[in-house]
Symmetry: C2
Subunit: 186 residues, 2 copies
């Protein structure tokens, strides 16, 4: 039983049980994820993440996660944190990587190492308002996975393909997502 011996640290049994349970109670499958961002100075902000809603109740991460974001010195800023567009790359990288581990576990494939390198190409003529034909965001993102696993090249490629197919962030980035913005004056 190769599948029973492998251990990528993903509790696939629990996830499969959750899937069965949610089929009976689909309203519990609606999650709300949250972040709060406070402006510090210039382009520097501090975001925190802790509470979320799902399975019909409130939850909290074990710790509050805090993130500094800023623009780099080449944009005449203080470089006190990663840029907002780099946070998107981190989200995409970590989503696809978690998916590779989960799919490998489900398929009985032992992973030894997984590394993803992401590059996002962006023409800043968009955000600077120089050329309205240039979009503000990434023109394209390239992801390169280097994976060491007990599997053939084809099986490893299939792991990544299945991870893409079920990745929340891959979907958010590659498809349009509605964003509503409300403003209160204090």
């Amino acid at each position: 039983m190769a599948a029973a011996m492998i251990d990528n640290g993903v509790n696939v049994q629990a996830l499969l049980a959750a899937r069965e349970a949610l089929k009976q109670a689909p309203e519990a499958a609606v999650f709300t994820w949250r972040a709060t961002c406070k402006w510090r100075n210039g382009t520097h902000s501090r975001s925190t993440v802790q509470g979320f809603h799902g399975l019909g109740q409130e939850h909290k991460h074990k710790t509050e996660f805090t993130f500094e974001a800023d623009h780099p010195e080449v944009f005449a800023a203080e470089d006190l944190g990663a840029t907002p567009v780099e946070f998107v790359l981190v989200g995409l990288a970590s989503c696809l990587t978690a998916g590779v581990a989960a799919v490998a576990q489900n398929r009985g494939i032992q992973l030894r190492s997984v590394e993803a390198r992401l590059e996002g190409k962006m023409d800043i003529q968009g955000i600077l308002g120089i050329d309205s034909d240039v979009r503000n965001g990434y023109e394209d993102i390239k992801v390169t996975f280097d994976i060491d696993a007990d599997a053939t090249k084809e099986e490893i490629e299939a792991l990544v393909a299945q991870s893409q197919k079920r990745s929340a962030v891959y979907d958010i980035v590659t498809n349009p997502t509605n964003v509503t913005v409300e403003v209160n004056k204090l």
Copy 2:
């Protein structure tokens, strides 16, 4: 000169000068942002951000930024970091917030405080593969800004609207972005 007195910490003069310079050398406006993500165990990964390319040369952030990502305990994981989808909210929040500060500086509006609360609604029937009509990513994201500034409600709303118009992450989330994935077997 109200505009000369206000200080949101954004060097608008440098940004306007950069805009003029890049009009003459548009090839320098092409940036490449990068992140590297290493799988740790289960759904836990560690991403790092430091180098980027732009203005025709390589740059490095002053420090290397490191981010732990994981799934929460309710997904039978270790909760050793924020979820990938929360990183997207942080990117969106910090991008819009930096934009509000920059636009306010350019318009001579003194900010006193800016806070953004983001909520992203996601039906996990998508990522669990229960219902193929349910998308994997956010169904919608709601952003609520609370802003204290020397300005009318209408002026504050216009700041946020202009920030949305020039935001890289708002564009990435609300519009489709091409992602190419390559896989190497080690």
